[in-house]
Every structure is written in C-alpha cells, then in structure tokens.
C-alpha cells in the first residue's frame, strides 16, 4: 500500500513540474487542424495535448466524473447550459479579450450563452442529407431521401446513429417541432422510421469516407463531412431538408478545474483571430463564426454549397436544444424499437 502511495505522489509531483507551458484540449475526433495546434505551440511555447471524444454525452460524463486533467472542452450549443447548470465552466472574461470583436454579430449574443460569458465559437454547421447524384438526380432538399427513400436509393442509404439529430429530423419531417412530446405525432414518427428502415443499408458513422468511395449513395450527414466527401468525389451533393434541418454550433469553453487557465485563455483569444479561425475551417470544412476569416480560407470554401445556405431554405434551419428527460425517454424507446 505504502509503495502505491509513494509512487502516486511521485507521479503527481512529476506532472506538476511539467504543468507550465501545457494545454489539454478535449475535442471531437478528426476535428482539430494539426496546423492550428502547431502554430499555437510555436507562438506561445505551449505543449498541447488533444484528446478525442465521439459524443456530447461521453464528454460530459467523463468531465463530471472528475480527474480528467482537461483545460478546454468543445461542447455543442445544446450542451453548454447543461455544463453551466452543473457548474463545470469558468467565466474567462471573453468580452475583454483582444479578439472578441471578431465574433460575427449574430454569434455574439446567443441563447445558450448570453453575451458569450463562457464560450467562444469553434465551428457551426448543419445536419442534412448527403446524396451521390450519380445514383439519384431528383430533389435532394428533403428528408424524403431517407424517410421515403426514392427507388434508385433503396438499400443504399445510411442514417448516422445520432439519436437526437435523427429523431428531430424525423419529427420535423412529420410536421412537428424538435423535442415534441405530442404522443400521436411520435407514434407516426416511430411507424415512419420503422417502415423507412427496411430501405436503409446501415446506421453508421464515417460518411466522409463512405460517401467518397461510393459504398453509401445517400446519408443523413453533416455539411462539413459532406463537403470533404465532395472534394474527393464531385458527384456528392448536400441537401437542406425543406421540412426542417438542424443547425448547431460547437463552442470552446474552459473548465472550472482547469490546471492551465492562462494558456486556455490564450487559446480562446488565438482562435478568434480570423487567420487562425480560417485554419479550423480549412481542416474540418465548417464555417467558424469569426468575421474576416473568409479572407484566409481556400477559394472553394467561400462559395461552397455546403456552407452557404440558399436563401429560400434558411428558414427551415432549427437550432435544437437538448430535450427534457421525458422526451428523451420517448426518443430512446422509439430508437430501441427502431434498432431491435
């Protein structure tokens, strides 16, 4: 026992000794441009470690459990208030930061973080449909692609297993509002999903690659991922379902128990610099909400149909919040029924 204690102490001491000049970031996988990190490390002489997570729930559970050692986390907007409610985030004084003014006006005062007290924008995007137009040349701005699958696409459709997004898309397709507790409508949604499933090929992630190489011909997908797929395969196109699609933003926050607060603040300020924000987008292919970053972006980003929402479809985009527990239970029950 004693031996265990001594070595634990030694380990703690060792970590503390190296703490200066470190920054631990907890972010979604395949989402952070290595060039961005390199640049930050060189400018500020800081050693950055990035750890991946694959879902908001995983990230939240790990951070709540404590002992994670992360300084920065990047939750989706619907989770920011959950973090705040659990008192997990600090107020780093963002409006006083040098680059604060670069945040686009429409992202400065947002519902999930009024006056940007806790978070700064990382990237924002939409959840819609990706279609390989060589297999189907009809209208793709509709969730009918996967809920009333056209004959050409039967057996070639994928649905990403992102419960919240998929359920809300289906609810909107059936004429409801996200997180609805209207049971009659939810019954229709369930029947629709169960019926539609027989036309699907899979419920899987990794669509950037699978859409690129033609394993999957259509999928519920994120715009940035579809953009990356299109760069590999020009037949891939992105549709904004007119019945309703999902808009989201991932945000950078500093954890209350962060060990490297100063470096974390430096990083926040760093990514609000248009040139650096452009690096974020250049890699993951989502917009970033920082004014002036377009200037530094590759030409194809500025006019990309995956980034520039067509005017007539702007109104169909919905910012969803995380659903209340009762609705969540209904969603899970339907989801289980769907995947049994």
């Amino acid at each position: 026992m004693k031996l265990v204690f001594t070595s634990a102490l030694a380990l703690a001491a060792a970590t503390a000794a190296h703490a200066e000049g470190e920054l631990n970031i907890y972010n979604w996988g395949n989402y952070t441009n290595p060039k961005l990190i390199e640049k930050f490390e060189q400018e500020h002489d800081v050693d950055v470690t990035i750890t991946d997570f694959d879902s908001n729930t995983t990230a939240l559970a790990k951070i709540e459990a404590g002992g994670h050692g992360f300084d920065i986390v990047v939750p989706t907007h619907s989770y920011v208030q959950i973090y705040v409610g659990k008192d997990l985030l600090m107020k780093p004084g963002i409006p006083e930061m040098e680059n604060y003014d670069n945040i686009s006006d429409n992202w400065k005062n947002v519902d999930w973080d009024p006056n940007r007290e806790y978070t700064v924008p990382w990237q924002w995007g939409t959840t819609g449909v990706a279609v390989n137009t060589s297999a189907y040349d009809g209208d793709i701005n509709t969730s009918a692609i996967w809920l009333d699958t056209p004959e050409e696409l039967v057996g070639k459709v994928n649905v990403v297993p992102e419960m919240q997004d998929v359920m809300n898309l289906a609810v909107m397709y059936m004429g409801g509002e996200p997180c609805t507790d209207d049971r009659d409508l939810l019954r229709e949604v369930r029947d629709k999903l169960v019926e539609a499933k027989s036309d699907w090929m899979s419920m899987d992630y990794g669509m950037t690659e699978k859409m690129s190489n033609g394993d999957v011909m259509a999928s519920v997908n994120w715009n940035g991922s579809t953009f990356r797929a299109r760069l590999n395969n020009p037949d891939v196109a992105y549709g904004y379902p007119k019945e309703g699609y999902i808009v989201w933003m991932d945000n950078v926050a500093i954890l209350k128990d962060a060990q490297n607060v100063e470096n974390a603040k430096l990083f926040m300020n760093f990514i609000m610099d248009p040139e650096n924000a452009a690096l974020i987008s250049e890699f993951a292919r989502y917009a970033n909400g920082i004014d002036g970053s377009e200037e530094y972006m590759p030409e194809e980003m500025k006019s990309a149909p995956e980034i520039v929402v067509p005017d007539e479809l702007k109104a169909a985009g919905k910012f969803t919040s995380s659903c209340p527990k009762e609705v969540q239970d209904l969603y899970t029950a339907i989801w289980t029924d769907l995947q049994k």
């Binding site: 729930t57 959950i82 419960m163 699907w200 394993d215 527990k325 289980t336």
Partner: protein, 297 residues
C-alpha cells in the same frame, strides 16, 4: 517446508489476489448492482432514490403511447440475436479450429511451435484494426467482391457488409485463436495409440472420432467454446463496425443506455443480466462435463 508454512501464514500470500478481487471485481460489480436500483439522472449518472424501475424495464415495456404493459419484445429480439450469433460463432470457430488444432498437434514437435506462433500473430494487432481489415475484405468495392467480379462469378457486388453474416465472419475471425489454443492443448495430450486400438477393433473413422477422440479432448472443446462464447455475447466493436448498426446486439444496447439513451440504471440492469446469462451458460457447461466425467469413471 512450504506446506507447513502455508498452514500458518500461507493466507498472507493470497492478499494481493484478494485485494485485486475486492477492488477489481467485487467492488465494481457491487456498484453496477446498486446503480441498477437507482433512478437515472437527467443527463447522465444516477439519482440516489431506490427503484426497481430499471429491472422492470428490462423485461417489460409500458407502451409509450397508451401506457399498457407488455413484455419487452424489442429487448427479447436483441437478446435472441446476440445469443444466436454467439452460438453460431462458437460453432464456426469449432468447425474451423478443430482441424487446425489437430493438424498442429500431429506435426513434428519442432514445427508445432512455429504453427502456434502463426496462430497467435493476430493477437499482436489491435481488435479495431483487425475488424477494419475484415471490412476492407468484404465491403462492396473490397477485395472479395472485386476478386469475384474479376473471376466472373458474380456481376454485382454481394452485399455482405452490414449484415448478420458480416458480424459472424468478423467474430469468427477475431475469436478463432481462442478456440484453437485450448483444442491444441487437449489434442496434444491425446494418446494416439487409442485410435489404433479403435481401428483394431473395427471401428469406422467416424466412430473413432465420435467415441474416442471427442470424449477425451472434451475439456479442450468446452474451454474453447467458453472462451469464444462469452466474449461474443458481449461483443461491441465487431457488430458496431461490420453490422452497420441497424440491428443492435446486447453490447451495443448497453452502450446506448450509458451514452445517448442517458439511462445508466437500465444499462446497469442489462449488464447484470448479461452476466447472469454467461454464468448460467458456464454452470451448464461445468455440469455437463462433470456428469460426463462420472460416466467415464
């Protein structure tokens, strides 16, 4: 010397094992049991109120629309799929593994080591990578389909990926060494003179296999089957990647509760149920073998 010591202070030696058992097995298990009797928290974790709701929901479901209670057939379907695929995986590994083990055991001793070495090589590679390798082989534009199309056997790619067959292929590939090694150990100890004796008494080849070989190497078969069956039942990665996620297995279903489902108590109850199924299967095996032993004696 050693014996007399063990009478007095020998128990001291078991302390490391006891600590490991208490903190590594019994403790966590107790937490799982306790959690399965609590209420789910709003976003994750649990609320410390006692309830049997999670256990109720393992077996029954309230219709989400009219509140009527019925048996949870969604859960049953998932259990049945897991059980079926695990049994099929065990059978498949046995059918492939037995001839393999036999072949290795009948090689000259100096070559056996090399063959066994080859069997263990896949263990050096991460499970995820092995699973993705299988995915590369069976996907529509993958090795197998391209080869068959090139041969002219088929015109359009076979849809193997994202089916139960894909999961079966993946699990059989991944768990095959776990079957071969115990089988080899059993066959290696087998006295081949018994076969000659059988032939001398005019037994057919089939009869020799069934009445002499299989009963004697039975412990190896049982060990191999358990080693394959148990992890198959809780498999997560293989069904997730090769099954396409359309149809869940037990492991994926449990993960759903701890992740997107935000219902840890139900996840905990399902995990306990999985444990009970495995224990029952183990007990059944042990019983079956010990009865057989008594007959043999």
């Amino acid at each position: 010397m050693a014996l007399s010591n063990s009478g007095k202070n020998g128990w001291l030696l078991s302390i490391p094992a006891l600590i490991l058992l208490i903190f590594g097995a019994a403790g966590p298990l107790l937490i799982v049991v306790v959690y399965s009797f609590l209420e789910p928290g709003d976003f994750s974790g649990v609320i410390w109120n006692f309830t049997t709701e999670a256990w109720f929901r393992v077996f029954f479901e309230r219709d989400i629309f009219d509140g009527t209670v019925s048996t949870a057939d969604a859960h049953l379907t998932i259990f049945w799929r897991s059980l079926k695929l695990s049994i099929l995986t065990t059978l498949a590994t046995f059918l492939i593994g037995f001839p393999m083990a036999w072949f290795i055991a009948t090689q000259p001793p100096n070559r056996r080591a090399a063959w066994l070495f080859l069997i263990t090589i896949p263990f050096w590679t991460n499970l995820l990578i092995r699973t993705f390798a299988i995915l590369e082989v069976i996907r529509n534009q993958g090795l197998l389909n391209s080869f068959l199309i090139w041969l002219g056997v088929i015109d359009a790619p076979l849809q193997i990926l994202y089916t139960d067959t894909a999961v079966l292929i993946g699990m059989a590939y991944v768990y095959l060494p776990l079957m071969v090694l115990p089988l080899f150990a059993a066959i290696d100890r087998f006295d081949f003179k018994l076969i000659e004796a059988g032939y001398d008494l005019y037994a057919s080849r089939w009869r020799v296999l069934r009445r002499i070989v299989i009963p004697i190497v039975r412990p190896g078969i049982v060990a191999g089957s358990i080693l394959v069956f148990v992890p198959s039942l809780g498999a997560y990665v293989t069904p997730r990647i090769l099954g396409g996620g359309k149809n869940m297995m037990l492991g994926n279903f449990i993960e759903l509760q701890f992740g997107q489902g935000r219902n840890w108590p139900l996840g905990a109850a399902l995990s306990m149920l999985l444990l009970v199924i495995v224990l029952t299967a183990l007990l059944a095996y042990v019983r079956a073998t010990s009865v057989e032993d008594r007959h043999n004696v």
